[in-house]
Symmetry: C2
């Protein structure tokens, strides 16, 4: 039995090995041919570049960089190319030192100023929302909140930030892309740091994400789910906010009727604890205008992310805007899988946000020199 089985097995495996070897050879030849054709078609010496250059070593205005930028701009819509193709073009662009394009930036800022005007309307203020105003909700458009004196008193007198007040701003997204980036120092050196959804910034993460926070958004769903709407104990939530030193907080209180009370409770809580922290509420009309602005630019979603909202606001409030942790793909530009957030891998509700579209949009803006998307490690 044993001999028969062995006798039967040997010749077969010998034939298989021979067949595999031939297949391997054919594959290698084909790969070489494709690579050669690619290089001929694009006319660029990839091997040379990857040996000679490092990230940011090429001048912004060099011919090579202009071409590399054009490669990104040629992708008009996200679906035009495979993600891997887009990633490659993006990776290639990293050899070019990013530089702000003042003309593009100023044009963009002017468009924003016309549509949205963050320095006047980002938050509801005593100035832009007098007592008695019938405030229309962002999504429950049939719902109207008459601004009582009590609510009015919770608003700041005026917008706390003015046009291009801050030189360099960092907007920190929560994407897994920022993990191991060591961008903490870079971020903390910004004049103003925006963060989304009260993310963790403790010692475990600060080397990558920094700690400085000047404005952080709070999604009321977090308060509802993790802090029982602040109807019970409030100190646990207060202590979460204590992590963000002197940062102000901003809530979409007027997104829908459900958000209002729970958002106001953050203000009640901070008042109760004698906190001097600023508490602001996004002006629903500002958010609607921003949504409309991006729809025109081709970024459509049921709901734009709070990250995009902050980036849009930052574009008006800062001279130069740097994005970290914004990357909505399951892989980093090198094709390595990354977690959804830098602190967990909880996926969002499908179909709610349009993150890849938003990121694609940021890639274009980066390419046009309007903002700087940091998707790799900071050196």
């Amino acid at each position: 039995m044993l001999r028969r089985r062995m006798g039967y097995a040997d010749p077969t495996s010998g034939r298989d090995l021979l067949g595999n070897r031939s297949l391997c050879f054919i594959f290698i030849c084909a790969f070489g041919l494709v690579t050669l054709l690619q290089q001929i078609l694009y006319g660029k010496n990839y091997i040379k570049r990857y040996l000679d250059s490092y990230d940011g070593s090429y001048d912004y205005n060099s011919t090579a960089c202009k071409e590399l930028r054009q490669e990104i701009m040629d992708v008009k819509v996200l679906t035009m190319v495979k993600t891997s193709e887009l990633f490659e073009r993006w990776r290639n662009l990293q050899v070019c030192k990013w530089q702000q394009n003042m003309v593009e930036t100023n044009n963009f800022k002017m468009s924003l100023s016309r549509c949205c005007n963050a320095p006047s309307f980002l938050f509801t203020t005593k100035r832009n929302t007098p007592a008695g105003t019938k405030l229309r909700y962002e999504v429950d458009t049939s719902g109207i909140l008459p601004i009582s004196t009590e609510v009015f008193k919770m608003f700041p007198d005026d917008m706390p930030y003015s046009k291009s007040q801050f030189k360099k701003c960092a907007v920190v997204g929560n994407g897994g892309i920022i993990k191991n980036s060591k961008c903490g120092k870079d971020i903390d050196s910004a004049d103003f740091v925006f963060r989304c959804n009260i993310p963790p910034i403790n010692d475990k993460y600060s080397a990558d994400v920094g700690a400085k926070t000047d404005l952080v958004t709070i999604n009321p769903s977090i308060i509802t789910e993790r802090f029982q709407k602040l109807e019970k104990w409030r100190r646990p939530f207060y202590e979460v906010l204590q992590n963000y030193e002197n940062s102000s907080v901003v809530l979409p209180a007027f997104y829908n009727t459900r958000n209002t009370d729970v958002s106001f409770r953050v203000k009640y809580m901070l008042d109760d604890f004698d906190s001097q922290r600023g508490v602001f509420f996004f002006h629903p009309q500002y958010l609607l205008n921003v949504q409309r602005f991006w729809t025109v630019q081709g970024v459509r979603a049921k709901r734009l992310s709070s990250g995009l909202m902050l980036v849009t606001a930052a574009m008006e409030l800062c001279e130069e805007v740097h994005l970290y942790g914004f990357w909505a793909f399951p892989m980093n530009p090198s094709g390595i899988f990354i977690t959804h957030h830098y602190y967990d891998n909880v996926k969002p509700r499908p179909g709610f946000h349009a993150m890849p579209h938003e990121i694609f949009n940021f890639m274009h803006m980066h390419t046009r020199g309007i903002l700087n998307v940091h998707s790799g490690p900071c050196t």
Copy 2:
């Protein structure tokens, strides 16, 4: 014209004056006769007593005092005599020094111990209400609250007070009777002071009502009406409680379903402010038992006052119980009108409490030497 009118007026007024004088004379005679008859009937020299004696000067066991006590006990029900008659008998009794009747007191305490057992059941505790208990509300008897672990954790391990733990207790009601009583020192000298419904005890009132507070009840309706159910700012209410130094608070959280959340919020609030103040909830079964106990004693009401609840609890927790500010009549015993509360004149919902019945009951208990009702000024 002038002369005619004068001529007409003069004789008429002369006749009237003469008639009034005769009437006056008849009245005075009648009054004298009635007073004389009264004195003969009762066999007591009122005039002499009111000249010679002062409050508390007669010995408890003197024949005169026994008789004066009997006069009160003879009034079996409040409607048997006019209030003025009851007041007079009460006023007369004040010449007798009050003394505790140990036999009566111990019998009473024993009855309470059997029916109600405050040292074990006054508040819900971890011991008497384990997690998982299906707690029946006091009035919404169809409503049942399953005690979750979260609620259970808010209960004290065991009752904080034991049987006859305190020598002398003062239970301070909020009746206008206490105004100008100067009983503050008296009250503050007690070993344990109970107060009802977080009344004001600031400098304006403390000479009359004292300041020491060991346990104060909070009616959730106050929180609902004056502190927006603690759903908004909580510090204003916290600061009200700060007036009561180290006093514990007790709430009828399980009176009806409406009371529960708002009562719990007092605990959340105090936890949030790191307060060490005790927060207790009346055990609904204790309150039901006390209500039943007093119904048997003839004190019926839709809802017994929190004052009566405290007095009942005090009877078990203290050796000697002194009542101040308990007087539910529109006049003091001397017939002078008084305000409803010592701090305002807001009348309660009619037909809800049965205060006069409760007070009448206390007058009997005072007379029997079970507790001491202070209705006059403290000397």
